[in-house]
Every structure is written in C-alpha cells, then in structure tokens.
Symmetry: D2
Subunit: 325 residues, 4 copies
Amino acid sequence: MRIHHHQVEHHDSQSIGQWVEQFRPFAKEGKCASYIPALAQKDPQQLAISIIGPNSEQIVGGDVTELFTLQSVSKVVTFILACMDRGLPYVLERVDVEPTGDTFNSIIRLESHQPGKPFNPMINAGAITVSSMLDGNSPQEKVAKILLFLEQMVGKQLKVNEEVFQSEWQTANRNRSLAYYLMDSGFLDCPVEEALEVYLKQCAIEVNVSDLAMIGLVIANDGYHPQRKIQLFPKQVAKLAKALMVTCGMYNASGKFAAFIGLPAKSGVSGAIVAAVPNHASLESPFPAGCGIGIYGPAIDDIGNSVAGVKLLKHVADEWNMTIF
Amino acid sequence: MRIHHHQVEHHDSQSIGQWVEQFRPFAKEGKCASYIPALAQKDPQQLAISIIGPNSEQIVGGDVTELFTLQSVSKVVTFILACMDRGLPYVLERVDVEPTGDTFNSIIRLESHQPGKPFNPMINAGAITVSSMLDGNSPQEKVAKILLFLEQMVGKQLKVNEEVFQSEWQTANRNRSLAYYLMDSGFLDCPVEEALEVYLKQCAIEVNVSDLAMIGLVIANDGYHPQRKIQLFPKQVAKLAKALMVTCGMYNASGKFAAFIGLPAKSGVSGAIVAAVPNHASLESPFPAGCGIGIYGPAIDDIGNSVAGVKLLKHVADEWNMTIF
Amino acid sequence: MRIHHHQVEHHDSQSIGQWVEQFRPFAKEGKCASYIPALAQKDPQQLAISIIGPNSEQIVGGDVTELFTLQSVSKVVTFILACMDRGLPYVLERVDVEPTGDTFNSIIRLESHQPGKPFNPMINAGAITVSSMLDGNSPQEKVAKILLFLEQMVGKQLKVNEEVFQSEWQTANRNRSLAYYLMDSGFLDCPVEEALEVYLKQCAIEVNVSDLAMIGLVIANDGYHPQRKIQLFPKQVAKLAKALMVTCGMYNASGKFAAFIGLPAKSGVSGAIVAAVPNHASLESPFPAGCGIGIYGPAIDDIGNSVAGVKLLKHVADEWNMTIF
Amino acid sequence: MRIHHHQVEHHDSQSIGQWVEQFRPFAKEGKCASYIPALAQKDPQQLAISIIGPNSEQIVGGDVTELFTLQSVSKVVTFILACMDRGLPYVLERVDVEPTGDTFNSIIRLESHQPGKPFNPMINAGAITVSSMLDGNSPQEKVAKILLFLEQMVGKQLKVNEEVFQSEWQTANRNRSLAYYLMDSGFLDCPVEEALEVYLKQCAIEVNVSDLAMIGLVIANDGYHPQRKIQLFPKQVAKLAKALMVTCGMYNASGKFAAFIGLPAKSGVSGAIVAAVPNHASLESPFPAGCGIGIYGPAIDDIGNSVAGVKLLKHVADEWNMTIF
C-alpha cells in the first residue's frame, strides 16, 4: 500500500489494507467479463481502492498499480463532455435521463417507447448517442478531446489500450445493432462506424484506481478541481452527472446500490467503479466530504458490477458513514 | 399565509408567497386526475407549500388549509411501516428496489421479468404487495396501523376520506388486475380484496401541506422526530426510503427530477409532493438541513406529477440551494 | 375400440387402434396440467381419437369413453356463438383475429398495444372478452346458451363438471388479472366476475372424444350439420373460425402445427384437441373430406398441447394426407 | 388487358378488367412506401392482376406490363431455397415458424425471447437469417442462385433493379440493426454485410404480375411446375411455405387476411402480392384449383399491404369462392 500526497492517519491506511484482503475472496462469486476477449484474461482475484480528498489527502489499498480500462465508467466522462460541447438542451433532446430497469445493452425500449430516444446516457444506447455528439470531425479528434479532458482531471496523459479496443471492435455486434437502430431513428450525430469507434475507444482508455479517484474527486466537487483550483465543467452538469450516477450508474442494480450504499457511482465491466462523495455529504471519515473513490476488481456479477469491489465500497461507506441520504 | 411555530425571517416568508403566485398559473398546463372521479372535481388552480425545519421553523404559502389525499405519497409511508413490521429481508424478498422507466400502473414487467417480483414499492404493483405485508388481521387493523404511524409523524389524527376511497374502490380495475397478477405469482401476503382495501384506503388518507412537510421532516432526519425527540423508525430504513424517493419517487420522471432538483421526493396523483432534505444536504436557506417540504397542486401532468408544484419546488430548491448532489 | 354409426373398413379401424398404442408412450414426455388441481389427477397415459365423416362414418381408438373438459377448445365454440349473438362487426370491434406468438395467458399486449384490444379469441384475454359478449342476463343464461349450442352440434346434453369449475374458480388469479385489465380498458361487456364465471364454466364442460369430433364435423362443414341437415351457424363465421384455428388454435405452437400438420385445430390444457378437415381439403382416407376429429391425451407439453395427441394427429394426417395446404 | 396462353372465357376476362377499375380508386387510402426512396416515386394509382392455372389458363387485368420489385415476396422464395440447400432441420434450428403479431421490422423478440431465434422467415429478422444460409461463397453466388431458381419458376431471366437495391442499401439502418443483433446471438451464417447484400438484392428483383402468378402457381402445386412438368422443390417444403404464408404472409394483418380471404399469400412493400390457391382448394372459377395469383398496387397501408390489391384479391376470392377453409 502506498500513501500519496498528504499522509492520512496511520490506522486508516491500515484499515483499508485489511478491508481489501477481507473482501478479496468474494471475487470468486463473480468472473471476468467473457464477451470482451481481452478482459477475460484478467486475474479475477485483483482488488484495489484509492480515495482522494479535496486537500490531496489520499489513501490506497490492494493492487493499486494495476492498469485496467474504463469501460462504462467512460460514459460519465463523455456525457459531461457532450454537455460542454453542445449545451444541455441539445444533449437532452437526444438522450433522456430516466432509469430503465433493463440491462445495459438492451434494445427493446428503442422500439417500444417512441420516438426511440435512449433512456439515459449510462446504458450503451445512450452512451453511443453521446459519443456521436462530441465535438470533432473524426473519431480521432473526438477521442483526442476525451483524452485531453481526462488529463485535465487526472493530471497525466492517458491512452487507449489498442488490444482491448481491437478486441471489442471485432465483437461489437450488439453495440453495432444498437448504433444502427439509433441511426435509423435519428439519434446519431455522426456515421455509425465513427460513433462506435469513439465509443469503443473511450471504453478502452487505460487507468489505475487513483486515476479513477481523481475523476470522482472532480465530479464530487461539482466540476471544480481542488488541486488545480480550476472549474473544469459547470456545476449544473456535475450535479446532473451525479444524479445519473445514482439513478442509473450501477447498471440495473442501481436501485439497490442507492438503497444500500447511497453514493453517486459508475461501474464498468472491467471491474472499475468510480464514486463521488458530494462535498456536503454525510461523512465520518479520515477525509472531508468532496472526495473521490476509485475501485478495481475485475470479477463481475451477472449485472456487470465488480463483486468484491461493491462489497468493499459498501464497507468503506458504512464504516465512514459516506452517503448522500 | 400563516407562520407556525418559530417565525422565519420576514423576507423569506414573503418570497414563498410571491413564488406561489408566480408558479400558480402553470397549473393550466396540467389537469386534475380524471380516472379517480373524486379527484376530478378539485380546483386545478390551487397551490400550496409548507417547509418545516428540525427546530420547528416553518414557512408556508398558498392554499395551506386545503385538504387533499395522500395517493402515492402513502407508498413511502407503508414501505417504511412494512420494513418495521416484517424486517428488511422479508420485505426485499417480495419487492425489489430498482427503478423501471415504466408508468406507475404498468403490468408488463410482472410477466416479462421472472419471477415477477415487483420492481419497487413506488409503483402500484410494489405498493400493493407492501400493503399486503403490513401487520394486522384485517384491512381495518392494517389501516389503523398506518393512521397511527402517520399520527406519530404529523402530530394529529388523520382519517380516510371515505368518498375518495369509494370513488377509487369502484374504479380500481387496473389495480385489481395488478393485485390478481401478484397473487397468481405469489407476491401477495393477504387476499387480493383485502390488500386492495388497505392500498386504496392509504391512498385516500387526507392531509394538508404541513402534514406532508412533517412526514418529510421525519424522513429527512433519518426516522428521528426532531420535535418529539424520538426515533420513529430505523435510520437504515429511512435512508432506503430516501434512496427510493430519488430513484423512483416521481413516477417515470424520477430521473429528470433527480437531475434537475436533486431531492428525495414522492408525488401523488392528487397533486401532493413530499420532499425530504437530508440533514446533511447542501443548503443555503432560512432552514438548517434536515427539513421537510409539503406541496399541493392538483393539476398534474401526463406522468402524474403536479405541474405547478414541481416548478415551485424546483424554484425553492434552486434559490435555497437544496440538493443532495 | 368401438365402431359407431356406419362401419368403416376393417383395416382402417385396426390402423387407428395400432396408432393409438404406438403414440401412447409419448405421453411421458408431457404431464397433466398442474395449475388446475382437478386436471392434475388425470391419468397421463390416456389417449383416444374419434373421427366422424359427413355421412356418419366413424372410426375410434383408445380411451374413447373417457370424459374430460373442453378447456380452451370451448373458445372456438363461444367465438362462433358470440358472432351469432352480436354479429361479426360488433365482435371484431372488441377482439382482433391476429396471432401473437405469446403464451395463452399473456397480459403484456393489453398494455403494450393500444388500445388494448385482445389480439384474438383463442388466447385467454380474447376468450374472456368473447364470453362477456354472449347473450344472456346472467352467467347462468349465458352458460345455458353455450350448452344448448353444443347440444345442437353433438346431439346430446352436455354439462359443466362442477368440481373442475370450482377448482379453476378458486385458482383463477391470472384470468382475474386479465379480466380486470380488460374491464379497465373497456373490453368487457359484463361485470368481471360474471364474465369469469361464464368463461370458467365453458372450460369445464365435459365431453368425450366423439363429442369433440362432432364439433369438428360441423365446423368442417361450414356450420352445416350433415347428419341433422341444418345450418347451425353462418358459413362466413365457420370459415373465420377455421382461419383462427389455423393461425392461433394450438397456443404458441400454432405456426408449427400449421406447418407440419396443416389442419384447423384447437387444443385445451385438458389434453383435448378438436380438428376440422374442411370439406374440400386434400384427403386420401377412409373418409370423404368435411370430417371432424376429436383427440384426448391429458399429458401436455410446456406450451399446453397434448404431447401424444399431437403426434397421433400428425400421423393420421400424414397417413391419410389430410391438409388444407 | 391481354390474354396469354389459353384463352379464358370472355366474360371472366371482362370481369377482371372491370374489377380492377372498381378497386383502383381505393389506392388513395394508401401511399407508396416512403422509407425506400426508389419506391416512393411509383404511381400509386397502378393496379394489376394476373391469374395462371395449371393448364396454362391465364387471365390478366390492369397495368400488367408494369415492373416492380419483389420486396418481401422474395422471403417465400429464399425460404424454399434455403430448405433445399440446407435441409429443413438445419433451417428450422435457425428460424422458427411461429407468427408474432409484431411489425415486420420489429427487433423486440430477438431480445425478449431467448435464445433470440427469429420467430419466422416472413419477418425481416427471419428473412435475413434465411438469406445468410443460402448456398454460395459470396453474395453474388447466392443472388445468382436465387435468380436461377426464380427463372425455373417464371420461365425467364429476372434481374436485380440496381437503383432500388442501392436505394435500400443506403437506408438499411434498421435491417443492419437486425442483422448485427442476429450475428451477436449466433443466428447468421455469413458476415452481416454479405447477408444484407443478399437480402436487399433479393428484395430488389424485378417482376411483373404474371411472373408473380407463376411463382404462386408452382407453390400452389406443391413445388410441381405444371407447364414444365417437373418437381422444382419438395412437396413438404411447399406445404410449409403455404402454411407460413397463411400464418405470417401478410405482415401483422395475416390473421385478418386468413380470416376474410383465406388463401396462402405473401405481400411486399412494393405493393406486390403473390397468392397460391392449393390444388385441392374450394373453387368456383374459370380456373381449376392449383392456380397462382399475382397482384400489384403500390399504394400500401400502414401495415405494408397494397390497399387496392388486397381489396381486389378479396373480391376475386369471394366471387370465385377461392379459399382453403
């Protein structure tokens, strides 16, 4: 376990390390995502956490140097970016912000609910629409903008894991189906293959848990980067992102996550979870409110969430009384 | 406008009165619920608000003496009561806590998602299941328990509006359809007609906006009644109720309500809205956090929410920076 | 095996008897309907067939004296009766004639396809609507009319098996759910409990396979009773009934039944099947065209059709080249 | 009006000509398919019919020289061809033969009914699967086989209308969505773009009404070509094709078409209809049974069927008592 920036009290650091080991065994209740070949090869036993506070407090535990891809966590980032690029009204005309109760790759509502507007940007359909709206004349330009925006948050240059991207690109039939459906009903702003390239590349951006925590930190602080002391995106967009994370962030276990953990969070099938503890949330922890949490545990459940990761996050939230409710 | 208990600063009281008049005209964009005959006769122009803080601060505006029925607002109350009566695991085995994106009276998921467990207690299917679980050997006993529980919160005896109940009872075909479906798939704990009687009577309990605000106050304070200084229900249940209000409380506009208002709230087709401002929420208002809000505006939109009421609540939340995000 | 009326050539009678024994063992691939308690007690090994031609030719095989209830076979009878009572336009305004691909007790389309008109009279929703339309001021009168109509076809008085009716009445939650939904959307012509009483009593009418064959005979002959030499119902209604039997008669295996057997037929969860061989159908059999077939084999498959019965009917149709295609 | 081959009695020819003019005005209740640009330019007033009997009797009326594309009529042809190429069991493992009640381009059941096997080959999803199964190492080879098979039926070489194909290819987003979904769930036998090329080219094959009638003639005669006196495809496949035409051939008006017309038929959004009058059907016409009918009327209804064409066909079937029921 490494302590960065400001040192947090010894016993808290120790706790985190113990908690990681306590919840690591639950990984065996899940398994690595198999439909993306490159993810299937990950070590399911890995588990890591990083929490970063507004004054650079940080505490980490577990496999913190491990790199993994953002996958659906990227949906929060591109949604925020699209709102900045296009303005909220433009974005909301093309994607709703309602939870669905369906699986993340469901296509049913695009047909059953006219006019087929995707229900929210946290499911694949909505995320592909969002990716199509980003500024840029090519997938390359759009991806470059995403990477630049992430760099402003995490403080270092990230990159797309090409192997993961290729792996997903080859097997993206379901996402292609969604994208062509969206194109047919007028909810794509660029050609299908371009939107998919952006979407799958954003999913394949590589991070570690502390990068995730930095993303959570900026969202938690309403778009304000407390270390760099600049407003990276509007407060209103940040609040909307947090609301979406609560209502739709944890796939179709979002309701249970809100009920029993109560933090804005977004998961990915890589086993990533980012959580944002709003800067006025209830908190009895080594951190002031307004902190970000990154979690990684590649063994996921049927719904798509890291099994050990969710349990670890619940334990931390319970112990330190982190909740928005 | 009347000021109760402690007086809140004059200009705030004044603001509320002005805001009510500012938003009253929007009532004409909605209309009174027509499928319940007794509700159709209400004056659509009415609008009222009451906010009560933990130290008995109160501010009110509009038609505050008007009586109306709880309708779906009662779903929060009976869910809390069922959790107290049966324990959380028992309740959660019979009703999930996931949002659906469907209309409140939808039956589709009972068939399409096996084993047909209702998705959450804020839609009719889930609420009927919850009512069937309440303690009591008869509908009368169950309703008596609900009224007693409400009395503990609002500080006075409430009663069922028999005319509204009869009106709903006669026309409850859709709810009967839901209830018989639930019975068929094993999700009712008592006979259909008994569960329906409880459900429709809880919907017909009569309140005013300050009663609503008192309910919101206790939920906001995690089950603790700040005036009576007793814990009426467990903190965990209160947090779960608030999470459900955020993810599912405003029918299938819950996502937009969370995104743009960001408070746990529950609406009813009578035009009632209860909101709970958690005791650690962001707030720049005449009130400390941990306050409850009651709203009444009988002209509702297609989704079932008070048109003027939602606009008034958004204005108050914006002005006083009330949000959990 | 008994031979009635005119004797059919000896070797054909022998064939039928052998075929029954040949297909009887397939009963073990199914089981008696368990959701209706009175049906669950039947002997799953039973199998019987009766074929009656326009000139009173008859051939029978297997357990031909066994009594069983019509169940969904009654849907054809009441549909014809409703068309006579109300006229085709009135009936078609309240029930469509389109196949659905859904299970017989599905409720989804009543909500998903506005205005919620049941898709056809062969699924429960449509059949309940049809029962509600029958002439008569009470369930008793309506049931009496059905029994009278059946008597005109089969030549003897039939009766409702009260034990089966009571068994179904007690457990009819799913049908009640359908009926209340239909009432809510305006597709019931009498109170729910009355429509259900008629529907469940028509299902509980007791017959043997030769009674079934007589029903098939009249339908095959376009409503004309070849023995009694009277037109019992209009040719147009008979043709419509046969079309419905082909597109929707065998639950959601209707397509496969049409594809591989190719006869208008209707099955019931009691294991009953009635088939009508139109009076101009292709036929190389001991019978002229225009014959009726009754089958009974109580062990049904997941879809609701008699396992051994369908196989026996397919064999007979193949051997004797009975098909409308 | 031209009379080919054997001359049919004068007054029947006259009748057909009059009937065409009688039903032509109903075209204004429909309109040409607008989602395929090349179809939108057709003259909606056109109407034509051709009936060909087993002994080369023929009667025609209306715009009989007009060329149009097969569109969904091709689905019957490729289904038959796939059964010949792969054998029935192979085909039925990949496409079911059940009607759905949904629109022809619906995607919902691919997700809602596991394992996502398309319900029948007459809806787009099933037809694309069928096209992917055809013999041939390239789209060109597969299309060549279809054209050869058609040539064997109609007696002349047909060709793909390249303009229509290009028009559909450019706008085939919904079909691409279906195809990628099918690929994802394992129901495509060749790459998506190849299957789509075959499918859209088969739809763009150009015919006149007499070509259609010839296709109907061979199907009516169980795969036997009465003029060329050869069996073009197995009787069992022909009967299955006729069953599919009855249960699913007229989009989601198939039930009503069976109920009120009662002939195996398949329509296309070009306004084409092919009908097969089985060789033992009831008939009081200038033709013996076993005849084929081709109809063309480009103004289609919301469901996709030629408005005037269906009315004309119903009139002919009524007048000449053509029905399988």
